[in-house]
Amino acid sequence: MSWILIVEQSLNGLQFGLMLFLLAAGLTLVFGIMDMINLAHGSLYMLGAFLASSFVAATGSFVAGVLLAIPATAILGMVLEVSVLRTLYARDHLSQVLATFALILILNEAVRLAWGPDAALAMPAALAGPVELLPGLPYPAYRLVIIAVGLLVALLLFFLVTKTKVGMLVRAGASNREMALAMGVNIKLLFTLVFGAGAALCALAGAMLAPLFAVQVGMGENILILAFVVIVIGGIGSIRGALVGAVLVGVVDTIGRAFLPILFGLFFQPRVASAAGPAIASVAIYVLMAVVLFFRPKGLFPARG
């Protein structure tokens, strides 16, 4: 095990964390501000990826395809909010879970009807290979782009939430919805806009991750579980928490997968190590979540005081 491998795996962890952040940012906004558990968040991620694959094929440009998929998914998200989800805000969490789970099934079958079970979205050719970061450390160029986009989105959201008027309303809504309403904030419109922004982030995540992950029906459910872990660790409703939580989950998961089996090999017999290593590595992030919740029951950066 060389130091280059350790650098590379840390980079992988950061990169996986920022991938998760793209999805978790939207989820934490919706969950934190509207107090709405939206399981269909993953379906919007799937829609974003499928729309991007169609737009990239139609325009012939990866960038144009992604940029078109984002507003298209945002509009679909807002239509969904106005037509279905709005009526669920007053209901308890169980009804929300049931209704949005139904949405997952409906959207999955709708995508299957419209596109088929899967779609292709290739990496832009210029980014398809690796670049030499350090001597002896080639790193996939596309993953570097994901790191850049993730950081850029984090910066942009941070600026939006802390420096703009809309951001102030969002923060007000997140910390005390009734008070914000009493102060005359148009909560209905704010919620629709926030939901649209969440959907746009989903589309960005779906489109950016599509060249690395399978674009297929049901792709949203798998990654949604990780996104929930991220926002619970980070503190629901907090963008900063989502960023820190995502990077923590990414690093712990990657380092665990990469080095736990080696570490076990040092102390146990090979047979035990090869069985226990992967098993422990796959629960590492849930152990992390349990530890965080034990010391900080509201997550690392709770939005609500």
Partner: protein, 392 residues
């Protein structure tokens, strides 16, 4: 007392006479259970489509009898698969049961067929327990034993002279079985055997370890979306030119090529069938499948088609007297049908003995990305478990 029991015996014989009669039936009834929805649904859909295509090409008949196929979706759940089997076997009284994709679902459902002496012809799942100690007279495999593709891949890695191999599979039973199959025929050294999470998305960590380990070859068994993720990321990391990747045949078939695209070119895999196998039955099947469904067939489709043809041959050879289960069994064992894979016969455990081919992903004359056959890895290959089977 003696007389009374003789009368009862006679009465019973009369009562059950219709069941064992040798009159020809008026139709053949087939229960088809498969995974048709959800992320793994594409495989079941391919098997079903090809199965029904075979019947359609025979004018709605199998072996001279009109065929009635009852299709049910097991939703990837063993309990649902078992319920469907119960319904088809006990209340619909089907002549054959078939269709199940996944071993865990099939193992839950087949005992119902066995207990009721209903024949099960597997179009895909062929787990090792049913090949060895628990082999069953009512169980036939029209596909390939679960280990076979991996064994062929191991043999191919040996043939190519790869001295060291790195192995990756998901952390569950089939993953462990697959790597055991690879190692059974691989003569080089195994650098590492890595078990990843089922349903894992990101493989950057594993790919970095492979790069550091510098093996001669990498073998992965990552079915479905996991394989798509891995291959996309492996090619994106520029690794495919450094450490050649070998996959089992279903890991680089049309359902994987479609979403991954040209990154698949040059990948080697092993399978019992390929689109370009040169025999009359295969040419007819590939052309008809593409015309009917506007897509290219996968190994799963070929298996579905062969399953229907095998059942059809058994019905034909019993002259339609399919109520006589023993006669149908004998006819199935004889396997007198034109398989799209070419030569086919059953071992005594009713698992196939057949050839396995080396394929490479390449462009065909029309510019489509397909699997091309470039060699034979095993000739008349059976399985490693048959010696434990008591069946003659």
């Amino acid at each position: 007392m003696k007389i009374r029991s003789a009368v009862i015996a006679a009465a019973c014989a009369l009562a059950f006479a219709p069941l064992s009669s040798t009159y020809a039936a008026d139709k053949v009834k087939i229960g088809f259970i498969s995974t048709l929805s959800g992320p793994s649904g594409a495989i079941g859909v391919d098997i079903r489509d090809a199965f029904q295509l075979a019947i359609k090409m025979n004018g709605g008949q199998l072996g001279g009898l009109p065929a009635e196929v009852l299709v049910g979706d097991d939703q990837f759940k063993p309990d649902v698969g078992r319920q469907l089997a119960e319904k088809y076997v006990k209340s619909d009284r089907v002549n054959f049961l078939t269709g199940i994709v996944f071993s865990n679902i099939m193992l839950a459902a087949v005992p119902i067929a066995f207990d009721n002496k209903t024949l099960y012809v597997s179009p895909n799942a062929a787990p090792s327990p049913l090949a060895g100690k628990q082999c069953n007279p009512y169980f036939f495999v029209a596909s390939w034993p679960n280990d076979a593709y991996h064994e062929a891949a191991g043999q191919h890695a040996s043939n190519r002279g790869f001295k060291s191999a790195y192995l990756i599979a998901p952390n569950y039973q089939a993953g462990k079985d697959s790597l055991a199959g690879f190692k059974r025929f691989y003569k080089g050294s195994v650098v590492a055997e890595v078990y990843t999470q089922l349903g894992q998305l990101d493989y950057a960590a594993e790919i970095a370890q492979v790069r550091a380990a510098k093996p001669d070859t990498l073998y992965i068994f990552l079915p479905g979306g996991m394989g798509i993720n891995f291959i996309k990321q492996y090619v994106g990391a520029g690794m495919s030119s450094q450490v050649p990747l070998i996959v089992p045949g279903f890991g680089s078939d049309q359902d994987i090529i479609r979403p991954v695209g040209s990154a698949m070119l040059g990948l080697f895999d092993t399978a019992h069938w390929a689109m370009d196998l040169d025999n009359a039955a295969n040419r007819k099947f590939v052309a008809a499948f593409e015309k009917e469904y506007k897509r290219l067939p996968t190994v799963f489709a070929a298996q579905g088609y062969d399953t229907a043809m095998l059942i059809g041959a058994a019905v034909r050879d019993t002259k339609g007297k399919i109520e006589d289960v023993e006669a149908v069994r004998r006819a199935l064992r004889a396997a007198k049908f034109e398989s799209v894979r070419g030569a086919f016969k059953f071992n005594r455990n009713q698992y196939p003995i057949q050839n396995y081919y080396l394929r490479v992903v390449a462009k065909d004359s029309q510019g489509r990305i397909v699997n091309k056959t470039i060699g034979t890895v095993f000739k008349d290959h059976g399985d490693a478990y048959v010696q434990d089977c008591a069946m003659k």
